[in-house]
């Protein structure tokens, strides 16, 4: 962030561009905190995700420790969480609150923020040749609302357990009492909500009567998600408008980098799915606090007390609302990773992307089909078995565009001159993990097979590989790739390699064994497996997974160190250190406040022109004019008069 001080030209231009330009802010607050510069906001999102991912990671290690050594006492844990882990031994509700918070933090504040809000914010405007987002203030609001959502979520950890609360605030202080009163007492003796990230009612709707971890923590958890929905909506609107309206001269849709297509598709998914979750969240809050019964049926007897205050609701309604959001959310998490992977694979394969059009269509097909398959999370929920069948067939058909993407990644590598940079390793890792994780969807997507596999560790292995780890590999690839542009310095390559290899092997060692645990029948969200003899044979695997998880988690510290060290001490990066073709590499490193120094680039060709015969280098920038070649009829949406090579001509070679 060694960003430029205002240059005199910028001042001179202020009047002239007053309608469209905002000069670089000078105050610290406007520059780094409440900034409306998409680049700063992108970095803010990335830092928020970085904080969140380490919190989520620590939680996962704690969970593994509890599952593997259930009787061991961890003194440090005991002193940190007097109620959650008395004497250093985790209570089942502490474990479940870790399950809930790990899932919520990872899905919302890592997988949704970093790929889209982080990299998308920073690079979408630059890659299409715009000076900023269409609505810079909205962009700032979107980030800060997300930030508030995270604060509310984290506070949910502390309101439930009075002892945990006391770590930060003296429980007898006036503010603690006020907060406790406001949140109906809190202090139910756990360290957060324990409904899982899916928060199924009636468990999540009944309140404290349903047991520990169902009090104020759940209220804050829902509130946090509702806040997050609003932020994502604002972001999605901004992305769509920017991409449709602010592309520079010559940047036809079919010349855009695949990253832009992925952010665009993701934004559409977010725009259509988050409002549904927002509605669901509000209904759930009303059920909890306003006496409504959207999700609570009549005649319930909870903790041996007949509830007369509710009647007529349906717990399954929530599942429909939740998964109508929840399934597109999976693609919100993974699509930007697909975009980044395509982009980086092509760059370091030194080859055009194989089947550009097919990649774009596949992405849209995945996004579209993603809206019609939410019921595959609900085969055994009590939903009609006939709808289950329809959802099942649609689900397996998503495998087709996913397979197209895989073919095309392999096709891109075919005949390549691969450069094994760190971002390339992570992009290749993404392909491997995406296949490994995605393909078991063919098992889970069948109604018949879900009868046994539902809610077992098979599901955990499946979605962690595909939407968790693969998506995170996409982020790592993006981070190593774009870091020089963002911070003006290179990340250390050796540390990058040391980070990659154990992480890649580690995630396989963690998540493949989970599949076979699922075959044996291991149910997810269990605080302990000691009760069940049929799980005895999985114990060696439980141990293996935990050891792999601990090693993998510690490996991430290498990344953390590399990240912060390189910001200040890394070798200075040139404008185009990777010899890449897209617009972000045509501007200075790091880019100036208005991205291109007041002179917007003109685009002459598609995004992946590598290995062009007879060209002086093995790559041709999108901005390189092409005087010699006769103008080929314009491709894409056709409103470009410039000559074009590349994308849109698949299959003509």
């Amino acid at each position: 962030m060694s960003e430029a001080v205002p240059v005199p030209e910028a001042h001179a231009d202020v009047e002239h561009h007053a309608a469209h330009h905002h000069g670089p802010p000078t105050s610290f607050i406007r520059k780094y905190i409440f900034s409306i510069d998409h680049k700063v906001i992108g970095i803010q999102y990335l830092l928020l995700a970085l904080f969140s991912v380490f919190v989520g990671l620590i939680m996962s290690v704690l969970m593994r420790m509890n599952l593997t050594w259930p009787d061991h006492k961890w003194p440090l844990l005991g002193s940190l969480f007097k109620v959650g882990a008395p004497g250093g031994q985790m209570s089942p509700e502490f474990y479940l609150s870790l399950v809930t918070m790990h899932g919520t933090i990872m899905v919302f504040f890592v997988l949704t923020t970093a790929p889209q809000g982080g990299f998308g914010n920073y690079f979408l405007p630059i890659q299409i040749g715009a000076e900023d987002m269409a609505f810079p203030v909205l962009n700032m609001l979107s980030f800060w609302i997300t930030f508030v959502g995270l604060v509310v979520l984290v506070s949910a950890i502390f309101v439930e357990g009075s002892a945990a609360f006391s770590v930060s605030i003296n429980p007898n202080s006036a503010i603690a009492k006020w907060v406790a009163k406001y949140l109906e007492g809190g202090g139910s003796g756990t360290v957060g909500p324990i409904g899982g990230w899916t928060g199924y009612p009636t468990l999540s709707a009944l309140g404290k009567i349903a047991g520990p971890g169902q009090g104020a923590g759940v209220t804050l958890w829902i509130t946090s998600i509702a806040i997050f929905c609003v932020a994502s909506l604002l972001g999605a609107l901004n992305f769509i408008t920017t991409l449709l309206n602010m592309r520079t001269r010559g940047m036809a849709l079919m010349r855009m980098p695949l990253t832009c297509w992925s952010w665009f598709t993701t934004a559409i998914l977010a725009l259509l799915s988050f409002p549904v979750l927002l509605a669901g969240g509000i209904l759930l809050l009303l059920d909890r606090h306003a006496g409504t019964s959207f999700f609570i049926p009549g005649g319930l007897v909870v903790s041996d007390k007949l509830l007369t205050s509710h009647a007529g609701g349906s717990p399954i309604l929530w599942q429909h609302l939740f998964w109508f959001f929840g399934h597109p959310e999976v693609y919100i998490a993974i699509l930007p990773g697909m975009g980044a992977t395509s982009h980086i694979l092509s760059t370091f394969a030194r080859k055009p992307i194989f089947g550009y059009r097919a990649m774009v269509f596949a992405m849209f097909a995945i996004g579209l089909l993603g809206f019609f398959v939410w019921g595959h999370h609900m085969f055994i929920s009590g939903m009609s078995p006939y709808s289950g069948m329809a959802f099942s067939v649609l689900t397996l058909s998503i495998g087709v565009p996913s397979a197209i993407k895989t073919f095309n990644w392999l096709g891109t590598l075919w005949g390549a001159r691969i450069r094994f940079t760190v971002p390339m390793l992570f992009a290749i890792g993404f392909v491997s993990l995406f296949v490994a994780g995605g393909i078991t969807g063919l098992v889970l997507g069948q109604t018949s097979l879900d009868l046994s596999m539902h809610d077992t560790y098979f599901v955990l292995g499946h979605f962690h590989l595909v939407m968790g780890v693969a998506a995170i590999f996409g982020m790592f690839a993006g981070m190593y790739f774009w870091f020089p542009k963002m911070f003006g310095r290179m990340m250390n390559q050796t540390l990058g390699y040391i980070h990659f290899w154990p992480t890649f092997i580690g995630v396989y060692a963690i998540f493949i064994p989970m599949h076979v645990m699922g075959l044996v029948g291991m149910p997810r969200r269990y605080a302990s497996f000691a009760e069940y003899q049929f799980l005895t044979k999985t114990h060696p695997l439980v141990m293996l997974v935990t050891i792999a998880a601990i090693i993998t988690a510690f490996t991430q510290l290498i990344f953390l160190f590399n990240f912060f060290w390189s910001i200040f001490k890394g070798p200075k990066a040139s404008d185009n250190p990777w010899e890449a073709t897209t617009l972000e590499w045509t501007t200075t490193t790091p880019p100036p406040h208005d991205n291109f120094g007041g002179k917007l680039p003109t685009v002459y060709r598609g995004a992946y022109e590598f290995a062009v015969p007879d060209a002086p280098d093995d790559y041709v920038m999108q901005t390189t004019p092409d005087a010699t070649e006769a103008n080929v009829a314009a491709d894409g949406d056709g409103h470009t008069g410039q000559g074009s090579t590349g994308n849109g001509h698949d299959g003509h070679h």
Binding site: S303, H454, F610
Partner: protein, 284 residues
Amino acid sequence: MGRVFGALLWLITILTVWMFVSKKWWLPPAITEHGPAYDRQFLVTIIIVGIAFAGAQIALGYMLWRYGARRDSSRGIYSHGNNRVEMLCTAVTAVVFITMALFGQRVWAQLHFHEAPPGSAQVHVVAQQFQWNFQYPGADNIFGRTDPAKIKDAELNFVGLDDADPAAKDDQVVTTLVMPAGRDVELTMTSKDVTHDIWVPELRFKQDVVPGMNIKVHFKPVKTGRFELACAELCGQLHYKMKSYLIVLPEADYDALLRLPQAQFQARITELNKQPLGLPGEQY
């Protein structure tokens, strides 16, 4: 580095395939009529999935091995794709996946698309935080009336049986699920409080038990034995302890059990629960 990475991918592929093929960790033996069909469908699917997985990883490894080693300054192939290959791959995948999706409905349809045959053994399931209650109709084969208002755990009336109903007099409510082998069993399931899920791996069956709904399911156990029964839907603090047992008896024993008066019924269940877990002779 390409060769190292390629070889690593192949090694990971081999180890992953081994985890499944070794069958050290596999589905437990099936005890229902639809079990073998389920296992067949699972096997076919996992083989197709395995081939696709291994194929993709091996191909990826090959690309890295083959195209990662070049040190000369020549350029890669200037190609933007190949529509014919693209179409072919898409068509093949679509056919395989959709076929698999259709075959994947058979067991489901067999279980869910028709009513339980007449004469099925009937059990009512009432789940609650963290206990399973199974209600049997008794000698009269008629379930007594229940009423949520009459539920009183302290008085051991877990399902709210209404004493005023004569049919309720001989109903039995226990925490163990007992079924006959060789006869269809219909479960009518509801929950008192939150959503639970009945899960016995050997049954190849799972169903959410939802408050406010009476969900009817049926299947046919064909092998006797005693098995662990778990809750598979997060239901609160002690979810992991919401355990019970499924006992599948020979048909005659089951009928005899249902005719027993209450005290002896309980004693018989206690006795049955002393047998080891698993199929006879195949304990786990």
